[in-house]
């Protein structure tokens, strides 16, 4: 295969990881919301923790974005 084509295919494949990270982040906020609707008084205390979880899940998706950017612009 042409190495340039392989590079672009690889960058596209790396972006799949971002979609999977989106599922993770959506899962966290969806569960936070369903928990918050069941017990609104406890919601505010868990707000920070929700964002920590979302940040950690999102971080892994961002690693795949970085892989894609490195393939496109650096490698």
């Amino acid at each position: 295969m042409d190495p340039v084509a392989a590079k672009y295919i690889g960058a596209g494949l790396a972006c799949l990881g971002m979609g999977l990270a989106a599922m993770g982040v959506g899962n966290i906020f969806g569960n936070y919301l369903s928990g918050a609707l069941r017990n609104p008084s406890a919601a505010d205390a868990q707000f920070g923790r929700t964002f920590i979880g979302a940040a950690l899940a999102e971080g892994l998706g961002i690693f795949s974005l970085v892989v894609a950017l490195v393939l496109l612009f650096v490698a």
Partner: protein, 256 residues
């Protein structure tokens, strides 16, 4: 169409000479960093210049900002972490101001460069390591030894904990950098669609009607994305701050 990466280009404004083979210069990045610091300093000084018991509009804003960061730090790292409040508050306001300044059209986004966010992340991790060793000596290394783990599992757990600790500055810096970079690239790509489809609309005829419809859609998307970027700018500054607080918690209270 304009290159969406072009906006991140570092331009030399005032060359300051060379150290070794490396050029030292006052760049547009440095200009916006100085601008952000000046904006924060002048804004907060002006807001608290005439302190009154019943705060005015600007003083109330400054107090809300102070209380927000203080509450985040106290909840995530405990009351004794307030000695690090100046660091955490500076980080939050600097990252927030740089993110928001970058959203002004034509302005340079300082935090979209990994070298800037990596420096901030290394500052945080360096503080955590130094504070941990100063406060707890070699007990700080207890951070890497989870309690309640069977002894045959310990070597693996220690390796995992060390790797997870070392990946913290990487993920902390990459998260902020990649969010700002990706957001600004997306904005620029949609803005490019407006221009190219707008040119089609200007050509007139049947394709012109298609072009009008085609250019309106990305324009609406660009407006929506800009609103989303404001959310992301504030959110990423908050995430950077709260993760800093959690890492400081590890330095002050090592051991699981």
């Amino acid at each position: 169409m304009a290159n969406p990466i072009e906006q991140f280009e570092i331009k030399t404004l005032v060359p300051l000479g060379k150290i070794g083979g490396t050029e030292i210069a006052f760049t547009n990045s440095a200009l916006f960093m100085v601008g952000a610091v000046a904006l924060i300093t002048i804004g907060l000084t002006a807001a608290t210049a005439r302190r009154s018991l019943v705060p005015g509009r600007f003083q109330a804003g400054a107090e809300v900002l102070y209380e927000f960061v203080a509450k985040t730090l106290r909840e995530a790292a405990g009351h004794d972490a307030m000695q690090f409040f100046p660091l955490v508050f500076s980080l939050f306001t600097f990252v927030l101001t740089c993110n928001l300044l970058g959203l002004v059209p034509g302005f340079f986004t300082v935090t979209s460069h990994v070298i800037v966010t990596a420096s901030l992340a290394l500052l945080v991790i360096g503080t955590v390591i130094v504070a941990g060793f100063v406060k707890h000596g070699f007990h700080f290394l207890g951070l890497f030894v989870p309690s309640g783990v069977p002894f045959w599992l310990l070597p693996f757990m220690i390796v995992i904990e060390v790797v997870s600790f070392l990946s913290r500055p990487i993920s902390l810096s990459l998260r902020l950098f990649a969010n700002m970079l990706a957001g600004h690239i997306a904005l620029k790509v949609f803005a490019g669609f407006i221009v190219s489809l707008g040119a089609l609309a200007a050509s007139g005829g049947v394709t012109g009607i298609l072009g009008v419809a085609g250019a309106t859609l990305p324009l609406a998307m660009a407006v929506g994305l800009t609103a989303l970027e404001f959310l992301v700018a504030a959110l990423q500054a908050y995430v950077f701050t709260i993760l800093t607080c959690i890492y400081l918690h590890d330095a002050l209270h090592p051991g699981h």
